[in-house]
């Protein structure tokens, strides 16, 4: 049985269930208690699980991420929130140099089973420092498992797996999807990390997209005169290139859409991985679409200009025929 819930409710359910399931799970971050998180994602958890398990922290991302690292090494399973994904940089040393590298540097003797989650993406007029998509930064640092959520179903199932995984996982919901609704099973479930999924079958062209861009790609697919297969990578590191490659072997065409900045973003790498290994499957050049090389502007028309639209995706698809 399933029911319709919102994306934010799905996130809150994942947290609630994992807090209930495993005493070692604790949740902390700024304003996760009474306030319930910026998008309502921690609402009710503090009341239910108590102040030892759900903790407001002082305002410091270095403190949050650093404490999460130590707590994980110390044998518990911290889930830490940053209020915006951009703040991954605010805890830069922890996020780039410490957390993902400590297991490797210790030769595997040290484990860091922590999860950091933070809403990413543009579209709400939050400006250049509260709107970025940072999975290109994180995925470029070996050691992080980088996971995004596209639907309430994904959000819940992937977040639960993220919490249970023994690697450091960075989980990235998208703020524009907070209030979107979708079917979620009544029963408990998890979804595999590290596996892409073909969300829509098609014969003519493969579109890789996640988060908000997935939904725009779906709109675009409805607009164009081609049978579009949509692959949702879900996990950006490690990346399941095989599922994408398999699709391209069938369709012969590839469009990679993502909200990271195009220059050294996710798109070029993903496209090139497939081109490099499946060159002779291609019937047309690959096409990449992302945020052009600019920060996210405040002005709504400017913000929409830089954020790939369904039209831009549709034009990208059509350019390959």
């Amino acid at each position: 049985m399933t029911r319709e819930i919102t994306y934010v409710e799905a996130i809150a359910e994942a947290l609630d269930e994992e807090l209930s399931r495993d005493d070692d799970v604790i949740l902390f971050g700024e304003d996760v208690e009474e306030f319930g998180g910026n998008f309502g994602e921690t609402e009710g958890l503090y009341e239910k699980h108590g102040r030892d398990r759900v903790r407001n922290t002082p305002l410091s991302e270095i403190g949050i991420a650093g404490m999460a690292l130590g707590a994980a090494v110390g044998g518990i399973r911290p889930v830490a929130e940053l209020q915006f994904a951009d703040f991954a940089a605010t805890a830069g040393d922890e996020v780039f140099n410490q957390i993902p590298k400590q297991p490797y540097v210790s030769g595997g003797r040290l484990e860091a089973p922590l999860t950091i989650f933070a809403p990413s993406g543009a579209g709400i007029g939050a400006g250049a420092q509260h709107s970025q998509s940072v999975h290109s930064w994180l995925g470029n640092v070996p050691g992080w498992v980088v996971v995004t959520a596209t639907t309430p179903y994904d959000a819940k199932g992937l977040f639960k797996s993220a919490i249970r995984d023994d690697n450091p996982v960075f989980f990235l919901p998208h703020k524009m999807l907070s209030e979107t609704k979708g079917e979620v099973p009544d029963e408990e479930y998890t979804l595999p990390l590290g596996e892409a999924v073909v969300e829509e079958d098609g014969e003519d062209v493969t579109v890789v997209a996640t988060q908000l861009m997935f939904h725009r790609a779906k709109e675009a697919a409805a607009e164009v005169d081609a049978d579009v297969e949509i692959v949702n990578p879900r996990t950006f590191a490690p990346l399941d290139t095989e599922t994408i490659a398999e699709s391209v072997r069938k369709t012969g065409r590839l469009v990679v859409v993502d909200e990271t900045v195009e220059r050294y973003g996710t798109q070029g790498y993903i496209a090139n991985e497939i081109v490099e290994n499946e060159f002779f499957s291609f019937d047309a050049p690959p096409k990449t679409i992302g945020v052009k090389d600019v920060p996210i502007p405040l002005s709504p028309p400017l913000e929409q200009e830089v954020l790939p639209s369904a039209d831009r995706i549709a034009a990208g698809i059509e350019s390959l025929f």
């Binding site: 002082p58 305002l59 410091s60 007029g125 400006g127 250049a128 200009e305």
Partner: protein, 336 residues
């Protein structure tokens, strides 16, 4: 916890009138902002300054035009106004229009006006203090006696970047005044759960001058910041001032404030409104009459209406503007 406000007026009448007028300007501008935001005219986040007006105005009045202000915390608009940015430019920026201070690229969290020496605000709370140290360094290198004032909230003091800025400012005795606006809350996290008695104590290990003042009293803030600026100008190095204020508004528009105790909140609104208190003080001390204040309010309301008109009439940026101002081009030596 709050000391009783003195009922004397300790500045000359003109200054006192300007203080009240400027606080009213912030208040009326922000009330209008709230309406416009509520009507969906203003995009993004809006954080208002209710309760901080005395702190903003006292600080602004203590500064020379040539002194830098690097804004911190989340009470922003009052500070932009106190630094002298024209209301129409601020309002147009809130609207994201081409005639905004930042041509619509920045919005409420980023109003910057280098000509008026407003560095602006780092929307990552607590990232403005080290730039403030750099601004002070630049002034010192250029041989001026200008200073840099930088604000931060109680919440922001938990970020290490703030403490590093203290280290750097102290290291070269730079002319920086750190103002901590302790409004008791970092969104929903109470400052009283932090361990220091006063947040200005953070300056003590550095052997800096520190002071904690009632920030809802515009004159107190004016005095304390003036003293600190004077020390900085005279080469006596940085200071840390805690300005104890109250946040009489939600963290941002939309915040339901479920975390606040209602009775206490009502009491604070009653007792600690910097504008109401100062208004009464000026009336009691015959600095102004009710009628004069009404005129003042009416004038400001006109100014604010004009600012809204200006913003509304300013065009949305053209799409191509999104690609401007990323780089100054050509790059050095390029295309030669």
């Amino acid at each position: 916890m709050w000391e009783r406000m003195t009922q004397d007026v300790n500045v000359d009448d003109d200054t006192a009138r300007r203080f009240l007028e400027e606080m009213l300007r912030i208040d009326i501008f922000e009330e209008e902002t709230k309406e416009r935001f509520g009507d969906g005219e203003i995009p993004g986040f809006v954080h208002l300054s209710g309760g901080h007006e005395g702190s903003h105005v006292g600080m602004g009045a203590a500064m020379r035009d040539e002194d830098w202000l690097a804004v911190g915390g989340a009470r922003l608009i009052g500070q932009y106004i106190a630094k002298g940015v024209p209301l129409p430019e601020i309002m147009a920026e809130l609207y994201g229009r081409v005639d905004g201070s930042n041509r619509g690229h920045g919005g409420q969290m980023h109003v910057a006006d280098v000509d008026r020496k407003l560095y602006g605000h780092a929307a990552t709370i607590g990232s403005g203090q080290n730039p403030a140290v750099g601004l002070a360094l630049a002034e010192k290198v250029k041989g001026t006696d200008n200073v840099a004032v930088t604000t931060i909230g109680d919440g922001g003091t938990s970020r290490g970047s703030f403490h590093t800025a203290l280290v750097f400012a102290a290291y070269w005795d730079l002319p920086v005044v750190f103002v901590i606006e302790n409004n008791q809350w970092a969104i929903s996290t109470p400052a009283e759960s932090l361990s220091p008695d006063s947040l200005s104590d953070y300056g003590d290990p550095h052997n800096m001058a520190t002071e904690s003042v009632d920030g809802s009293d515009v004159e107190e803030v004016y005095r304390a910041v003036s003293d600190a600026i004077e020390r900085a100008r005279n080469g006596e190095g940085p200071s840390v001032i805690e300005s104890r204020v109250v946040r009489l508004v939600p963290h941002f528009e939309g915040d339901k404030e479920t975390y606040r105790d209602e009775a206490e909140y009502e009491r604070l609104k009653e007792e600690k409104d910097p504008i109401e208190n100062y208004r009464e003080r000026l009336l009691e001390n015959d600095v102004l009459t009710e009628g004069e204040i009404e005129d003042m309010v009416a004038n400001i309301q006109d100014e604010v209406s004009e600012a809204v008109e200006f913003a509304r009439e300013s065009p949305e940026p053209e799409p191509e503007a999104a690609y401007e101002h990323v780089y100054r081009t050509p790059l050095y030596g390029q295309g030669e």
